[in-house]
Symmetry: C2
Subunit: 206 residues, 2 copies
């Protein structure tokens, strides 16, 4: 795509480096910005720069935060003996949205994935193991995605903490609430039968 | 979606103002930027600002340009007596990519659309009519989209220039090259039969 302006070409090239955004979409976005008042581009540009330069990660759980310790870790109402281990901050948001978890989180920042060159040292695993070994943690809940990488990461952490007497659990896998059994995949349906729960427990949060 | 950081929330809010980008996609883009070196955000931010503030529109054809007169209008090899009338600069790029048009363009900046509050005065129609009336233009090719707004705009311009003796034409509508007849819509197929071309002409650019 040849463009009549280097400035335009440059802006399109930068935007199309973002994941899932091709040259055509980038051009559409740039032309949209050109039709809007200059202030919108100014605000967008400022927000991105400020976010990238000033954002912090919670020293305790590695969640994204504007302060040294994030609002979840700093909340005295949260149970710090219960730690939910997640991949990234989107998982924190998703679980927070349920309003059902009262413990704290630990954000790993990814999964162990030799293919992508991600080893344990690139993830926030060391600080989690230290936290467990320092005592005060009763249970770790693994909430990583159920892929080979997720399972590997769970198992890697499990091996490091199992001698410290902390309880470990994994979130329940099963048929989503409202889903039809006939459309569920066999693996999930099989697990949901093996890991069935007493009916009195099942109706607790209905 | 509640977020643990106002900076993050702000960046997501700004990005999701772009057309076709929702909160979830915006969050994914922002988290991607956080994983990349700071320089990428810096470059993106600079490219957008510089583009928005410094870009110019060609004084003659209203195409986006880095100079007062765009490279197409300034090219002595182009036939300035043949003007292709288009909606926006994406159409210029599309036609330029064919390599088959040797005239110049006139970018209207949209179509007449009373529903969206776009009247003739908001478009670059006046300067086109002036150009035609000043003489030296032999033919106007209308290449607007074939919607009611496009047709209205074509007709509006046609009425203003028809007495000045300029020839007017519209790009050919028909079955796309390589398409199967059975899947074509009736309107297009009907037009392609009515506006059939002599076979010797049809094979010229094959």
């Amino acid at each position: 795509m040849e463009m009549s302006s280097k400035l335009l070409e440059n802006a399109v090239a930068e935007i199309s480096q973002l994941p899932g955004i091709g040259k055509r979409t980038a051009l559409r976005l740039v032309l949209h910005l050109l039709r809007q008042p200059e202030i919108q581009t100014q605000l967008l540009s400022d927000a991105l720069l400020k976010m990238r330069n000033d954002i912090q990660y919670c020293k305790s759980c590695h969640n994204i935060s504007d302060t040294e310790i994030c609002t979840i870790c700093a909340n005295p109402m949260r149970d710090t003996s219960l730690i939910c281990v997640v991949e990234d901050i989107r998982d924190v948001m998703a679980i927070e949205n349920t309003g059902l978890f009262k413990g704290i989180y630990h954000v790993l920042g990814g999964k162990i994935s030799p293919i992508d060159g991600v080893g344990p040292s690139q993830l926030n695993i060391g600080s989690l193991v230290e936290k467990v070994k320092a005592g005060g943690v009763k249970e770790l809940i693994f909430a990583l995605s159920s892929t080979m990488e997720g399972d590997t990461t769970n198992f890697y952490i499990y091996r490091q903490v199992k001698d410290s007497g902390v309880a470990t659990s994994a979130i329940a896998r099963g048929i989503a609430v409202g889903d039809e059994l006939e459309f569920a995949d066999e693996v999930t349906l099989g697990r949901s039968i093996i890991h069935r729960v007493p009916f009195e427990n099942a109706i607790k949060n209905m």
